[in-house]
């Protein structure tokens, strides 16, 4: 049996321990919350989980693991017995213990090096104090001292198990070694079929635990004449540190033949049935047998009269389990011990009578599969898909033959798709496995930060590919921690803001459009885009000019820039040197996007959009320079084909980039050949620069490709009439941004199997992986995010330029930028606005100071004549009243203080993000109109106004 003691058994143990630990944490949190009212089954579950970890740890000789779990088990036992109440002060060290156990299990070979004594000591202290001080427990008539209790439990046990028999000290010994009790049911045929001798059976048993007793169901053995034909049944009372399922593996005994008789629970836990009930539950026949054999055993032992080893104790099962109609028992020798002990407990925990003693029984329908095996299956399914693709390709060529082949191929096609889908499903895991750790995270954070935080979760059963789930843990943790630390306010602050003192974080997972959405919503203070902007400015991540052009959304998105999260914003609690940029990078790596919605004072929602799986993805195959590449469909917004004749009108240059005008939007263009360095075959190798005449020559010679698009953009006038050069542009999205990727050729869409890139290729950021195409060749999978980063095209720059361009060109911007306006009157029934940022100076002056030359008006201002502009002179608006004595002088920045606009009265300054209606902007000098504070307001565009007044807006000179 030594071979079973090998790595695979340890691995099994580790896997199981991890599962146990992940289930313990939420249970402990419930225990902390519900206190003494906690469902006893939860306490039992935690207890069993720790117990089985301890047991197996002892079996494998992981001392630290064993010792810590042992102390935890002791404390949990006291909680179960209501001797210590599960208040936060008790749960805290238990949680810390779970952390330590996680560490140990995580790296089992070094588990001895994990420091745990501090936690163990805390637990010991509680154990030492708790038992003595806590008098509220219902059944403290007996000593609640741990040591004093054990022999009693043991004797209760022997009282219960009338059939099995063992020395109390032997039981005690088993208990102190962390062993659990089992009844193993063997049939003689088990051994004869395997040609196993009783000796080897005993050897086998001894290597996994201790045989305490053996109970022969004598009826099943027949008499002397029939005994060799009978399949006799015997039960072995076995103590082992292994749990039932491991034991089943180790002994090769079916799990339904192993009954757990957790002896420390006997006498206190009515749900743990005594053996008679267990046998009865297994088969109806054996119960009668067991009962009968019990009787016969008694008569016989009495007859032989030699082997009794301890006094008989009363049989209790008949008292609490009416259906276990055991034959009459001898009158109890001592009634006080067991009945006093039993009854109060039965009241505490009355309901789980019928529950299966094995909590994992609902998972009987599943088996554990090694991940590498799954991955191999996944690979094979992938290869099958490839072969299918090849088959389809070959057959479609020969389809004309009209054989029955195409039907068969169609079948294979369908089956392959289904097979692939199902194998993929085996890799799917509920996201709950990640969500599960957040209650603890939030709880710990709340305690540390002295905040009140409630975490609500939904959609834990939404399934995602295993690899995605694993990579999600860190980003989500970071976001949750951020919420606790930065977003949610302390209770006092929340109270002042009229919010409930408890902050809420809502974590949701849900399907949408074939993708998984995960949202993290808080009702905290929201993200102030101004502050973000200022901070980004301070950290030199943006320039002031860039910032001024940014929309609030763009400013909020600055938090995702590398270098934004500096030591200042990372508190000790939430930050581990990881910034939001890492969150974004991780999500992007998974082919996902992150989106932020925030409202100051109300809260923030981060939404992650993720693909369901990474392994097989539909992709568009594109060609550049005779090489093929795969572009995941998920990144593809649309395909645009630009005719050569349209190039001039559709494509233009903005700053350093070329952009495509697409439905009123400007889309930055990137040429894949350029990015991949594949353009050399098409350009003059000597100069690296294409020559106009050479381009013309190529254009004449061959069917033109788009390779010269960018050069053409630069010199599009000379190339305007080029023929036959259509451009294939993939419109791709990376997060909220989009760009166009120009490729040579477009092929079909294929389902491709993603293979990770070799470590040698990690530096190739433009690719997310590789795949094998239908024709067997390897193709690289393009990564839009990487391409965009590599291109150096700044989407923000383009966006900003785009906005400015649109404003300047159309003079009618659907401008939603939030800005501060100066509101003023000219005629008192009309309201005007001018952006505060465009004003150089604002002064009150006396109308008497105005001087006139011809029809022009001036004001002597710092020793110079400042031309004055009256709105009614240039715009179709009402004149300001003549009666006015004082007026205001608005000097715009445009023209560098070269002129002043007269306002009759200043109303206010407001911050607004109104959308301008340009229908009234018929005059140069008016940007548009909008309703501001319930009044129609005309927006002045100082630059246009000055120009109309004949004042140069470029120099500092006064116009005449």
């Amino acid at each position: 049996m030594d071979s079973l003691m090998d790595e695979s058994l340890i691995q099994e143990f580790l896997t199981e321990s991890r599962e146990h630990l992940s289930s313990i944490e939420p249970d402990l949190l419930t225990l902390e919350k519900d206190g003494a009212n906690t469902d006893p089954e939860i306490i039992n579950r935690v207890f069993r989980a720790i117990h089985s970890i301890k047991g197996a740890a002892g079996f494998f000789g992981f001392e630290a693991l064993k010792k810590l779990s042992h102390v935890m088990e002791n404390l949990l036992m006291q909680i179960r017995e209501h001797r210590i109440s599960p208040n936060p002060a008790v749960i805290e060290p238990l949680l810390l213990g779970v952390d330590k156990l996680n560490l140990m299990v995580g790296d089992i070979q070094n588990s001895e090096t994990v420091p745990y004594m501090d936690v163990a000591e805390r637990l010991e202290t509680i154990l030492a104090n708790g038992g003595a001080s806590d008098t509220s427990a219902p059944s403290t008539s007996k000593t609640s001292n741990n040591a004093a209790q054990e022999p009693q439990t043991a004797s209760t046990m022997s009282g219960h198990s009338n059939e099995f028999y063992a020395e109390p000290d032997q039981l005690e010994g088993c208990k102190s070694r962390g062993q659990s009790l089992f009844a193993l049911e063997y049939h003689t045929s088990d051994l004869t079929q395997n040609q196993q001798s009783p000796f080897t059976l005993m050897e086998q048993l001894h290597s996994f635990g201790v045989v305490l007793d053996c109970m022969w169901e004598t009826e099943t053995f027949g008499n002397l004449e029939t005994c060799l034909e009978k399949d006799g049944t015997f039960q072995i009372l076995f103590a082992s540190v292994l749990e039932a399922d491991l034991l089943s593996q180790a002994l090769g005994l079916p799990e339904n033949r192993i009954k757990a008789l957790t002896f420390s629970m006997v006498g206190s836990n009515p749900q743990t049935p005594p053996l008679v009930t267990v046998s009865a539950a297994s088969t109806n026949g054996t119960m009668a047998n067991a009962a009968a054999s019990e009787g016969s055993l008694k008569t016989e032992t009495a007859a032989i009269g030699s082997v009794m080893m301890a006094p008989e104790l009363p049989e209790t099962p008949s008292q609490e389990s009416p259906r276990a109609s055991t034959p009459n028992q001898p009158p109890p020798m001592s009634t006080d011990n067991s009945s006093v002990h039993e009854e109060p407990k039965a009241k505490v925990d009355p309901q789980p009578q019928r529950k299966s003693p094995n909590p994992g029984s609902e998972s009987m329908e599943s088996v554990r599969v090694r991940v590498d095996l799954l991955n191999k299956l996944m690979d094979l399914a992938g290869e099958m898909v490839l072969s299918r693709n090849q088959l389809l390709r070959t057959v479609s060529k020969d389809e004309t033959q009209g054989s029955g082949l195409s039907n068969i191929v169609q079948n294979i096609d369908l089956i392959t798709s289904e097979l692939q889908e199902h194998i993929m499903q085996t890799r799917m895991q509920p996201i709950g496995s990640v969500f599960g750790k957040f209650p603890r995270v939030v709880r710990d954070m709340a305690r540390q930060l002295n905040k009140e935080i409630e975490l609500q979760m939904s959609g834990e059963d939404v399934e995602l590919d295993k690899s995605i789930i694993e990579s999600l843990s860190d980003p989500l943790t970071h976001l949750i921690r951020n919420c606790c630390d930065h977003a949610l306010e302390p209770p006092e602050e929340r109270k002042k803001a009229g919010k409930p003192t408890t902050g809420t974080i809502i974590l949701r997972a849900f399907h949408q459009d074939g993708q998984i959405n995960i949202s993290i919503t808080d009702d905290g203070r929201g993200i102030d885009h101004h502050k973000i902007g200022q901070k980004a400015l301070k950290n030199n991540l943006v320039t002031e000019a860039e910032l001024n052009r940014m929309s609030p959304q763009e400013m909020v998105n600055l938090i995702f820039l590398p270098g934004f999260s500096t030591a200042e914003t990372i508190s000790e609690v939430s930050g581990r040197g990881v910034g939001m940029d890492v969150v974004k990078t991780n999500i992007t790596k998974l082919g996902g996007h992150i989106h932020t919605d925030t409202e100051i004072g109300k809260g923030t929602t981060f939404t992650l959009r993720l693909p369901l799986t990474l392994a097989i993805i539909p992709s568009l195959i594109v060609g550049v320079s005779n090489q093929r590449f795969a572009m995941p469909q998920i990144n593809l917004v649309e395909l645009v084909c630009i005719r050569a004749t349209e190039i001039a009108s559709r494509i233009e240059r903005v700053g350093s980039a070329s952009v495509l005008r697409l439905r009123g939007k400007l889309l930055p263009l990137i040429r894949l050949a350029d990015i991949l360095g594949l353009e050399r075959t098409y350009t003059d190798p000597a100069s690296g620069q294409p020559k106009p005449d050479r381009r013309r020559e190529i254009g004449d010679k061959r069917k033109a490709t788009e390779h010269h698009l960018l050069e053409m953009l630069e010199k599009r006038d000379t190339n305007r009439r080029r023929q036959n050069s259509d451009y294939n542009i993939l419109v791709l999205k990376v997060g909220v941004n989009q760009f166009g990727l120009i490729v040579d050729e477009l092929f079909d869409t294929e389902e491709i199997v993603v293979k990770p890139l070799s470590g040698y290729l990690k530096q190739c950021k433009c690719f997310s992986g590789a795949t094998i195409m239908g024709d067997g060749r390897v193709a690289m999978i393009l990564d839009p995010g990487g391409i965009l980063a590599y291109s150096g095209v700044s989407l923000e720059e383009i966006d900003a330029e785009k906005r400015r361009l649109e404003e300047a060109q159309n003079n009618k911007a659907a401008n939603t930028t939030k800005r501060t306006l100066l509101l003023f009157h000219n005629a008192l029934d009309e309201i005007f606005a001018v952006p505060l940022s465009s004003i150089l100076r604002l002064e009150k002056f006396n109308m008497d100071r105005i001087e006139r030359i011809g029809h022009k008006e001036f004001l002597t201002y710092y020793g110079k004549g400042l031309p004055l502009i009256r709105l009614e002179h240039y715009l179709s608006v009402n004149p300001m009243p003549h009666t006015q004595e004082d007026a205001y002088l608005i000097i715009p920045k445009d023209g560098n203080g070269a002129a002043g606009i007269i306002a009759s009265r200043i109303i206010d300054t407001v911050e607004t993000d109104v959308v301008l209606d340009s229908s009234l902007a018929t005059d140069r000098g008016i940007e548009g109109s909008a309703i501001v504070n319930d009044h129609l307001t005309l927006f002045i565009e100082p630059n246009g106004l000055l120009e109309r007044a004949g004042i140069s807006t470029h120099g500092g000179t006064h116009g005449h």
Binding site: G677, K755, S758, G759, Y760, L761, C764, G776, V778, A779
Partner: protein, 160 residues
């Protein structure tokens, strides 16, 4: 005395060898897909029965220029860590080069398998021509030529 076997191959006209334990298989040159932005010594990726193999240009790695593809070109496919695990567990392979995924070496041509006693392997002479000494584990004098044994570790590791 332990006997070791070496798969031999040519770079230019020089004969090199690698321990045959480390070699999964040797193939005629497979269809290569170049990888843009890859380091110079990466010739590309190829498909080995559904598995993607990264092809290294051994000639370039040894500082002897670029391998030209001819009819004699071969790929020497190296075992991965997973494939070597059993050998290493049995202590039958003491080479601990980290080979996480499938990689092959592109060579000009292949020779025969040479088996020699350990003691016939000489330390590399100080002057081995153009090849940097760190890539060489030893040399074996054959009848009419010299077999240069390459260090798998230095050829495959620390490439960046």
């Amino acid at each position: 005395m332990a006997t070791r076997s070496f798969a031999t191959f040519f770079i230019n006209d020089q004969l090199f060898g690698l321990d045959i334990l480390m070699i999964r298989e040797i193939n005629k040159h497979l269809d290569l897909s170049p990888v843009p932005h890859a380091p110079d010594y990466i010739r590309g990726l190829c498909n080995l029965r559904g598995q993607i193999v990264t092809v290294l240009d051994l000639k370039h790695r040894l500082g002897l220029g670029h391998c030209e593809l001819t009819n004699n070109s071969h790929n020497i496919i190296i075992k991965t860590d997973a494939e070597l695990l059993e050998l290493r567990n049995r202590d039958e392979c003491d080479d601990d080069t980290h080979i996480p995924d499938k990689v092959s070496l592109l060579v000009d041509g292949i020779g025969e398998v040479v088996s020699v006693n350990d003691k016939e392997i000489d330390p590399p002479p100080p002057n081995m021509g153009q090849v940097d000494g760190k890539y060489i584990d030893g040399v074996i004098k054959l009848e009419n030529t010299l077999l240069t044994i390459l260090s798998m570790k230095n050829v495959l590791e620390n490439l960046n």
